[in-house]
């Protein structure tokens, strides 16, 4: 399984287009945070972390959208499905590989933004309560900056696995990589684009907000919403691979 996951990571990440967009997004990420007081810088860090999610989505779905269409278009799916481990383990290996790849990409982007902010304030003030930052103005949470950063890292990893399974499923049912790219981007981007239009009840349930969990804290969502978010992630990680498996072993996909 280790070799299969390693190979899937190589297939997904080591593509010229993906590497270029990823590196450019990291470089651009270092330019986002403005100078200011410690609390202003941290507020900007959380503000920009959410604001930068379209770029995360772009890299993410560039990686995911071709994951299965590559196999179909190259006829590798036929070859894989005639091997002893191919039918059973490829979907699992792709799921784990994509989860790791997306986590690496998303965490690298957020880490660059964090580090840029931390460098600007010389790593001081990590214990400042979130409620003291303008971005979280008026909240009652007792979380501090450092805790929020750690929580976000955790939710980004979990959500990366969720988006990976979603993207892989969309790729597995598509003939062209552009369809999962657009669909996946829309699913991720809807709350971002239509935040002002859609009811907040809906927005707080979206996976994007589950990933950038500072949004949930900022809008003081209830514990039950957080549990529902967690359930959506777990259910997605369990259901999408099963649907992907069915699509992958289907006869005459091309």
């Amino acid at each position: 399984m280790g070799q299969l996951i390693k190979s899937e990571l190589r297939k997904m990440l080591f593509k010229k287009g993906v590497l270029i967009v990823w590196v450019v997004s990291l470089l651009f990420g270092t330019l986002l945070i403005h100078n200011g007081t410690v609390s202003e810088v941290y507020a900007d860090v959380f503000f920009k972390s959410y604001g930068y999610t379209p770029i995360m989505g772009l890299v993410m779905f560039m990686i995911l959208s071709g994951a299965y269409t590559l196999e179909y278009n190259s006829n590798m799916s036929d070859l894989i499905n005639t091997t002893k481990n191919g039918k059973k383990k490829t979907v699992i290996a792709k799921g784990i590989g994509a989860g790791i790849a997306i986590s690496i990409v998303n965490l690298s982007i957020v880490t660059v933004i964090y580090l840029d902010g931390l460098k600007k304030v010389h790593f001081k003030g990590l214990d400042i309560p979130l409620k003291n930052l303008w971005y979280f103005k008026g909240i009652s949470s007792t979380l501090n900056v450092f805790e929020m950063m750690l929580i976000m890292i955790g939710t980004i990893i979990i959500a990366s696995f969720f988006f990976a399974q979603l993207g892989l499923y969309l790729s597995s049912i598509s003939k062209s990589a552009s369809i999962p790219f657009i669909l996946g981007g829309l699913i991720m981007g809807v709350p971002y684009i239509l935040e002002a239009v859609l009811p907040s009840k809906f927005i707080v349930m979206t996976p994007l907000w589950g990933m950038i969990s500072s949004q949930l804290i900022k809008h003081e969502v209830s514990l039950s919403i957080m549990i529902i978010q967690g359930t959506i992630f777990v259910a997605g990680c369990l259901i999408f691979p099963r649907l992907t498996y069915k699509a992958f072993i289907k006869e005459n996909k091309r």
Binding site: S7, R10, S74, M76, T82, T83, G86
Partner: protein, 295 residues
């Protein structure tokens, strides 16, 4: 001894039968699968490779239905699809390591086998080069190497020599002949000379049905008295022959034009001479000229 029995195999898509009631028994050796485009060769191979399930009928390997021993069966097959695209950013070695993992080979065993096969297909010196930089023939050789990784007992090759130069084709034929002693090798190709030179038996398929199976001698003997040569410099006769008969070959010389014809009926020309049949005559007799790609 391996034995693969294909019994009353039919694969339907809607009202169309891609394969219709095919029954064949295969034992160790090379079998050439011959037929025009759309005849149902790939469908048959995909069913043998467990990629598509038959509508009716069954495939039995050593006495067991292949779907009752699915994993075990996949462990003994090697498959090379017709159009085979490899991952451009993989080296030949890393690609074979990936396939070895899919085939369930242990890492140490896999690396040993990979080095051995890269030598066999002549790619050892470029094993760490990205496949994206390989020529079509080199990619094909990587494909052939992956087939052999698990030392398969059944090898299914769909147009394996397409894109190979004559030297590579010869090397490939020799390789197949060398390993065919204890394996069933099913080889689909349009290149008649490949089948002529290595196949123990040829299976001819047309419109989804098997129309003939036999050794070269059997198939050629069936054509005895059906192949003619006519030399003429009469353009009217030439035009008439071309309109009435299947012309396998037409060669314009300085003094006359020579035609090679296949016909079930006797040819009513005094200048017609009965010839020894060749395999390309068989192909022409059963299939259409436009499907003869290379001979």
């Amino acid at each position: 001894m391996n034995k693969l029995e294909i019994k009353n195999l039919t694969k339907s898509y809607g009202n169309k039968n891609a394969n219709n009631n095919i029954t064949i028994t295969l034992e160790n050796g090379v079998y050439g699968l011959l037929g025009p485009n759309g005849a149902g060769k790939t469908t048959l191979m995909k069913q043998i490779a467990t990629l598509i399930k038959p509508t009716t009928g069954e495939i039995i390997y050593n006495g067991k239905n292949i779907y009752s021993i699915e994993d075990e069966y996949r462990g003994v097959i090697g498959y090379l699809p017709q159009e085979f695209g490899v991952y451009k950013n993989f080296s030949a070695k890393s690609f074979l390591q990936y396939i070895a993992a899919l085939k369930g080979l242990a890492k140490r065993e896999a690396n040993k086998k990979i080095d051995e096969l890269l030598n066999v297909v002549g790619l050892y010196d470029v094993r760490n080069k990205a496949i994206g930089k390989f020529s079509g023939g080199m990619k094909r050789r990587v494909g052939i190497a992956q087939v052999l990784l698990n030392d398969p007992k059944i090898i299914i090759l769909d147009e394996p020599t397409a894109g190979l130069d004559p030297q590579e084709r010869t090397r490939f034929r020799n390789l197949l002949s060398a390993i065919s002693k204890d394996k069933i090798i099913i080889l689909s190709t349009h290149i008649i000379s490949d089948i002529e030179s290595i196949a123990k038996e040829t299976i001819m398929i047309k419109d989804g049905e098997m129309i003939m199976k036999g050794s070269h001698r059997e198939i050629l003997s069936d054509m005895n008295g059906k192949v003619y040569r006519i030399r003429t410099n009469d353009e009217n006769q030439l035009a008439e022959i071309q309109s009435k008969y299947k012309v396998v070959n037409l060669q314009r010389g300085i003094d006359f034009t020579e035609l090679r014809i296949v016909s079930d009926e006797a040819i009513p020309y005094v200048n017609a001479q009965v010839m020894e049949p060749k395999f390309e005559d068989v192909y022409m007799f059963y299939f259409d000229l436009e499907n003869t790609k290379e001979v």
